[in-house]
Amino acid sequence: MAYSELIKNFANVRDYINEFYNFGFKSRREFGSKSSRSYDNERRRIESWLGEYMNFFMDGDGKKIFLSVDSRQIAHNPLYKAFKAKTFTDRDIMLHFYILDILADGEELSSGEIMDRITSEYLSVFDNARELDESTIRKKLNEYVSLGLLWTKKDGRKKLYTLSVDEVNLSSCKEAAAFFSEADPMGVIGSYILDKLDMVPDVFRFKHHYIMTAVESEVLYELLEVINAGAKCEIEMFSSRQNRLKKYSVMPMKIYVSTHNGRRYLMAWRFKFKEIAFYRLDKIKSVKCQETVDTAGKYRTYAAEQEKFLWGVSVSDPHHTGILEMTLRIEEGSEYIVDRLMREKRGGKVERLDSRNWKFTAEVYDPTEMVPWIRTFIGRIVSVKCSDKNIEETIKADLKAMYKIYGIGGEEDDIQ
């Protein structure tokens, strides 16, 4: 098939954008299972959509393509462009403009009447234009009813179509749309709205903006619809450990979002093991909505109890929590560290022990998740005590390794 910059489904290109944007150090040959032609086509498409952010470097393995964006400098997420590259047929685009034009004056018309107008007033302008049959037009009309672009009503045995009433004054909310098109988890829809405006306000910028999550929008939308329905679903995920696709039967409940790395997780009831589980959205390939769950309330109550003891998204053992205590030395003039503790403590407690020492305590399912955060206090840690002694040992061993690689108190060594 001839190359096109448009795509039929989003799933294939997701992996490539992820590789180019998040990693960006693989050569063509390192794209493993993908064929060279598929690599060339996807790279060319992404370059067509996002060319200004694409870079490359050469090394012994060949050319390495990477996407690099300083997300603080952009008003609009460039990855949304990929969602605007859906393929379509000649008839799709023709009927889109014809139907909306025919109904623009507010008339209520049947599919037959619309077909007659198309034939006499539109196709007649062109030589050798192909005739359209009524069933094609009816199919498109019904598709537009489900999209909310048209309304339908019965007139005896006739089904009439009219433009849906749109009372929303877009220009009054264009600044809000511009802001939320980046700040909202489903911001791609805001981007569609901005495309309808003649002038898009350039007022906002975003810091700590993880734009890559945009490519999960389709999966997120499907999950939100399942959550709204109180239903169960089958999710298909890629397991890195087993290097294969796996299916899980779950009842989705919430989406957990990290503002520190952009990762998003589905919190769901997993039927097989009768437990709460978290699944990374970037690993979910597809979502199949199934029947509603009668006992949804019971699972939600159970989840609410567990959420009280989450630091992040890990429940290593739902029957046991661990307690972690960290004492920090905060000298006079460094009170901003106390402010940090207070705003970052999540479910933990902070107490002052004496004029210089402060204690942070948290009871969580998986204290391992706290280790990177604890390290951010390096330079002030007096002690760390944890019910899981391995965690204490890991923190101490890591500190020793860091002393070594930076030559603190001895010879500098390479990273081991």
């Binding site: 989003f10 590259a85 709205i193 906002f204 930076y406």
Partner: protein, 301 residues
């Protein structure tokens, strides 16, 4: 359905071309310009000929169109549902708009469906009347390109009263805060919106010609891919301009470009990776890490 051609760049470009055609003002160069502005890098190779072809039936060879009206771009149900969802966000009130026509529309999701589990808990007071008032004044100044007289507290608690040219409002989902980026006498001022006491729009136009240069720097890291550090770091630092090059034995050289004002924040983000990440350059950044480690070693933990 979120991935649909009706939201596509080709449809948008076609709509803009047809607007000109309905007015009887379409030219060949309009088509090329609109396609370049509204579609993708290679669209100009195919879209102009397609739109004038019989297959699409939209524009004739002499650049006329059978369409009688400028293309109508109504909101889809999905777009209305998204707008309805926003109206329940406290930040939506900052904009002072009421969206009519959504009464019978179901929101796309309930706000409780999202948990931002590591967001700092001292975010801006979006419900505060003073905050809302100040936000709207700032927005008005930005919208109309006017200077602002603004009274605010700096991060050390000192009160400032200045005339500034507002450039942008910057939002951080991690901090859940807005900062106003401004320039005054050629110097950049970043003002936390929550610390603004009072502000007013001036008649004078904002001086946006004297944009201060960004003060950025590069840090080079060596990363050891253990405990999934590579993937974690790649995601963690993906908001910055970054380049990653494989070395040997599961090691990678990572180059990050960052704003110097955020050096401390980047420093603690890097040391959070422990011994899996070593700062190689610049020496000044290496010194910052060493200072922290030296302080730590003295605590005999």
């Amino acid at each position: 359905m979120i991935f649909s051609e009706v939201y596509g760049s080709y449809f948008n470009a076609a709509a803009k071309i047809l607007e000109r055609a309905v007015d009887g003002q379409l030219t060949e160069s309009d088509i090329v310009r609109i396609v370049n502005d509204s579609a993708f890098g290679e669209s100009v190779l195919s879209l102009p000929s397609k739109i004038k072809g019989t297959e699409w039936g939209l524009v004739t060879a002499d650049l006329k169109t059978p369409l009688k009206h400028k293309p109508y771009k109504p909101l889809t149900l999905l777009e209305k549902r998204w707008l309805k969802t926003l109206t329940s966000d406290p930040k939506f009130k900052l904009f002072g708009v009421e969206v009519k026509g959504l009464d019978d529309v179901e929101p796309l999701y309930d706000r409780g469906s999202f948990v931002y589990f590591d967001r700092y808990c001292d975010g801006d007071p979006y419900e505060s009347e003073d905050y809302i008032k100040n936000f709207r004044v700032v927005l008005e100044a930005l919208r109309n390109g006017k200077k602002l007289r603004i009274e605010f507290f700096g991060h050390k608690g000192r009160k400032h009263n200045k005339v500034v040219s507002p450039l942008r409002l910057e939002y951080s989902p991690q901090d859940d805060k807005f900062r106003l980026l401004t320039v005054s006498s050629g110097r950049s001022w970043i003002i936390n919106m929550a610390r603004v006491q009072i502000c007013s729009v001036m008649d004078e136009s904002a001086d946006t010609n004297e944009l201060p240069l960004r003060n950025t720097a590069e840090v080079i890291l060596e990363l050891k891919d253990e405990r999934n550090a590579l993937e974690r770091a790649m995601l963690h630092f993906s908001y910055l301009e970054k380049k990653t090059e494989p070395l040997d034995n599961g090691r990678y050289k990572v180059t990050l470009r960052y704003d110097r004002d955020d050096e401390t924040e980047l420093l603690i983000r890097i040391i959070a990776f422990g011994p899996m990440v070593k700062v190689l350059q610049p020496e000044s950044f290496v010194r910052l890490v060493k200072e922290r480690l030296t302080m730590q070693k003295m605590l005999n933990f």
